[in-house]
């Protein structure tokens, strides 16, 4: 009886530990480097499997990346004035629809990315503070050109988290904000969230 209780308790404890692994102390540049390298390694070794079943890759990307994104902060930036006074539940729902959408697009993008190069993390530049910083990276293309991809990070209680990505100078947050906040003002957040989930709002590359 006692043994059973202990087993149950310890399982519950380890499960909760796994769910909340504590604050992530890594620096933003390290997070970007480790995450992308691990993902691309996994992708390279299981490419055939993922090509056959893209949902599997989406799941993996979701599992590895969601905890590194401040979905709530991104959502608030995107909604702007349209989100003023919004119920927390609706806001959370919108935030998770956005991050699901973004991550599955990212996973699909990864799958079409054939080059076996790894992104190069560039040295820190510009305004960086204790609370906000940008990690600059670039992907080398087959023809010798580069695609610059920057990640904006902010410090949270769980460590550094990304909240914006900028590709060739085009910010995900700014671009979505200008598309979505008028829609929310017009149609309401529930309809917009449902449309995002249904895949009716596709914007970025």
């Amino acid at each position: 009886m006692n043994k059973l209780l202990i087993t149950l308790l310890s399982t519950a404890l380890s499960a909760s530990l796994l769910a909340n692994p504590g604050p992530d102390n890594r620096e933003p540049a390290v997070i970007v480097e480790e995450t992308t390298t691990a993902l691309l390694d996994e992708l390279d070794s299981r490419r055939a499997e993922f090509t056959e079943n893209p949902a599997l890759l989406r799941e993996m990307v979701n599992r590895d990346m969601l905890r590194l994104i401040d979905t709530d902060y991104s959502a608030r930036l995107i909604l702007g004035r349209a989100g003023r006074g919004m119920e927390t539940e609706k806001m959370d729902d919108f935030a998770s629809a956005m991050s699901d959408h973004l991550l599955s697009r990212y996973a699909d993008g990864l799958l079409s990315f054939e080059a076996d190069t790894r992104p190069e993390v560039l040295p820190l530049r510009g305004n960086n503070s204790e609370k906000l910083t940008r990690v600059r990276t670039r992907f080398k293309l087959d023809d010798g050109g580069f695609v610059p991809v920057d990640f904006a990070f902010r410090k949270t209680e769980q460590g550094w988290k990304a909240f914006d990505v900028t590709i060739e100078g085009i910010s995900y947050v700014l671009t979505y904000r200008n598309q979505i906040s008028p829609l929310v003002a017009k149609d309401g957040i529930e309809k917009v969230t449902a449309d995002i989930r249904a895949g009716n709002l596709l914007l970025e590359d």
Binding site: R84, G126, G144, G145, G169, I170, S171, T175, R177, L202
Partner: protein, 243 residues
Amino acid sequence: MTARCLAIVMVAIMAFGSIGCSGAQVQPTDPQRDPWEAYNRKVHAFNMGVDRYLMKPVAKGYDTVMPDAPQRGVRNFFRNLSYPVTFLNLLLQGKPEAAMDATGRFLVNTTLGLGGFFDVASKGGLPRFDEDMGQTLAVWGWTESRYLVMPFIGPYTVRDLLGRSFYGYFHPISYMVREYDAYYLIAIDLVTLRAELLSFDIQIQNASDPYVLVRDVYLQNREFKIYDGEPPAPDYDALLEDF
């Protein structure tokens, strides 16, 4: 001749636009950077029509017929031709070393790259420079400029349109057009450029406001180029204050 054609088209758009859209009030989406939004939206709609019935079908045909490698070659060729413009503007922006590198690139690609069709310089690690007179004017201090959509040639700012009319003079293609009426060069440049952008169509079509999407992408990417790939971060706090 062309200037007159363009003027006629402009007048036609204004007239047609004001008849077609009278009464429909557009809520301004960015009065600061885009105070001419109502006019710009009309020209945007006109351009989308030209694109749909002319540019896109031709570009699609070209994309279907021409394999990827020669397509890239043609784009490399046109990019290599913009060297005089790049060189001049690097100098005007006070970057003589970069201007020398650009010259190296041009020489390598013109000779080893067989007239510019192969971008051997990039493969060898010589970076590509992207400079024009509009960027130079921005570096000189004209940082804010109104958004302006032009018939046929698309998104601009007043600054960048002015810049284009300056630097256009130094571009080998406009020289060929001036001296030899080689208009076909412009046509090839435009069609191949359009073919390169075909993959973005789906995003623009699916956007809830394609006009705003094109404007955002253009203005943000322009800023990115002006700062040579290192623009200041957006003011995220200001976005939240709005909240």
